[in-house]
């Protein structure tokens, strides 16, 4: 079990530092740091991305003193329930299976379709061939339940490498993750087949015993939706994507 993967340089206390830190509740925010543009480690070594910006804003609104913590995707839920951090913001879709074990706030990102990507010139039928997916994702279990042959890799990057090398015919992942990659591949990679909606929207994962924190974050998310700042951030990070809350 990968315990804490800890950001060496992301250690500074984030938004909270402008307030008197002592009387604010300290919250440790867990994320993966390998899923641009949701969350990634930028070249300065800090956690960056859409979720970082939303998370910091939410902490400011809810008057929480937040610290970001990196954790490997495989063990991100076990480490939440054993209390190594208090929230998960890692592009995690709200699903019934996960909801049994942890709680989610209301979504801060609408249900994102998953899409298939293949090499240039591939026909639509490749989606029932060999399909790569990241281990322990909703996409991996989706492919396992279709006629296609699922190949599982530890990181999303390796799934794309497998498509490029011809190991896999296609990859299934969140569309918003794939979009910049397809765009920058100069036509080498294309979307194939139809998009599918597998999971629900993306919410903040919390321990079931943490009702108070959940309530605070829910209020903060609602206010960000209301004043339009959440939609603005989504447009900023996801290439002008329009979401109306």
């Amino acid at each position: 079990m990968r315990r804490l993967i800890i950001a060496a340089f992301a250690s500074a206390i984030m938004t909270g530092s402008v307030f008197a830190a002592s009387d604010m509740q300290k919250v440790r925010m867990g994320t993966e740091g390998a899923y641009a543009p949701y969350n990634f480690i930028n070249d300065k070594g800090e956690i960056d991305g859409f979720e970082r910006e939303v998370g910091d804003k939410l902490c400011e609104l809810a008057k929480l003193d937040c610290t970001w913590v990196k954790n490997d995707w495989d063990s991100i839920i076990p480490n939440l329930v054993s209390g190594n951090y208090d929230t998960i913001m890692a592009g995690m879709s709200i699903t019934a299976e996960r909801d049994k074990v942890i709680d989610f706030t209301q979504e801060y990102f609408p249900p994102d379709p998953s899409a298939y990507v293949a090499l240039k010139g591939a026909a639509d039928k490749v989606i029932s061939g060999v399909v790569a997916a990241q281990k322990a994702t909703i996409q991996a279990s989706h492919v396992a339940s279709t006629k296609a042959t699922v190949v599982e890799f530890a990181t999303p990057d390796e799934t794309l490498a497998a498509v490029r090398s011809g190991e896999a015919d296609a990859v299934l992942a969140d569309k918003s993750y794939l979009e910049p990659i397809v765009k920058e591949s100069n036509g080498a990679l294309i979307f194939v087949g139809e998009d599918i909606v597998i999971g629900g929207g993306i919410g903040i994962g919390l321990r079931e015993s943490d009702g108070e924190l959940k309530a605070k974050l829910d209020v903060a998310i609602a206010s960000m939706k209301k004043d339009g700042s959440l939609s603005k951030l989504i447009a900023k990070w996801f290439d002008g994507k329009m979401v109306k809350y």
């Binding site: 800890i6 250690s11 930028n42 070594g45 054993s82 942890i102 990057d157 321990r207």
Partner: protein, 292 residues
């Protein structure tokens, strides 16, 4: 560096200079230090656990001997990877559960609530409020303990074998000279043992070095983690976009490990020669003493 402020305009050598001096790259370079720190801190702990294991296996007291036997057999039975998968998280929870009992006796709610592991705020280890670097050190410390437990069992096996390999007549001779059991152990048995233990211990050191890529399983951001993270292809969202460069980063790792093992091998060869020479002198002294 000043020129690195706007990476988009860079090309050629200056691009490389800026790329290789990003904070993430410094973390990568430092992670090699983490490996070295781990093995050097681990070695003495491993030796202590090894002696404890070996001596308890030789104990006349049956329960102690059983504990020693189970501990030393453990590494032969269970792969270290499997062990690393759940023991650190178990240690972490055990420590917090004990602290919970001690620090918050007034809390009556159970520690395991469904899936959640809930201890009071004061029992958190380290406290949630402490700075991130404390959490990092604690994570590293747990990894160190996990490594030490596994490799301590290896050391116990080696030391047990070495203690048994010292010729009986040497010990009997010492007893005949009127030495007490304690004196026999400290003056004869222990010094004589090193020669037999050295090959095993040098091998153990190599094993320890080669096990360090598993550090990432224990949640430490080691060189393997950074090689994977930095080598992965980067889109324009990053300052320095590039393709899949993992192979180059892993090559650096490979060279590092080959250097480390070959230097170690040379050192142990030298040490073995030295110890063997001393040992021969010692036995000569001893036997000439007997015949005199």
């Amino acid at each position: 560096m000043q020129m690195c402020v706007d990476p988009d305009g860079l090309a050629g050598l200056s691009w490389w200079l800026c790329y290789l001096t990003t904070n993430t790259h410094y973390s990568f370079y430092l992670s090699f230090g983490t490996i070295l720190i781990l093995i050097f801190l681990c070695a003495p702990v491993v030796m202590v656990l090894g002696f404890a294991g070996a001596l308890s296996r030789r104990s006349r007291f049956l329960p102690l001997r059983t504990v020693g036997l189970i501990y030393t057999s453990m590494v032969r039975g269970v792969p270290d990877i499997v062990f690393f998968m759940f023991v650190p998280i178990a240690m972490d929870q055990a420590i917090e559960a004990i602290r919970h009992k001690v620090k918050c006796p007034e809390v009556t709610a159970p520690i395991f609530q469904g899936n959640d592991f809930v201890v009071c705020t004061a029992a958190k280890m380290p406290l949630s409020a402490t700075d991130q670097w404390v959490h990092e050190i604690y994570g590293f410390f747990l990894a160190l303990v996990a490594f030490a437990i596994v490799f301590g069992a290896f050391a116990a096996n080696t030391l047990h074998g070495a203690l048994a390999a010292v010729p009986k007549n040497q010990l009997e001779t010492a007893r005949a000279y009127g030495m007490s059991e304690k004196q026999v152990f400290w003056r004869i048995h222990l010094p004589q043992m090193w020669r037999y233990a050295l090959p095993g211990l040098s091998n153990l050191w190599m094993i320890l070095i080669k096990a360090t890529p598993l550090l990432f399983l224990l949640g430490v951001e080691d060189a393997v983690y950074w090689a994977g993270a930095l080598g992965a292809s980067k889109t324009q969202i990053y300052d320095f976009p590039h393709g899949d460069w993992r192979i180059w980063y892993f090559s650096a790792l490979l060279i590092f490990y080959l250097l480390l093992t070959s230097v170690s091998e040379r050192f142990f060869k030298w040490l073995t020669l030295k110890v063997t020479r001393e040992h021969n002198l010692n036995t000569d002294d001893l036997s000439s003493g007997v015949t005199a």
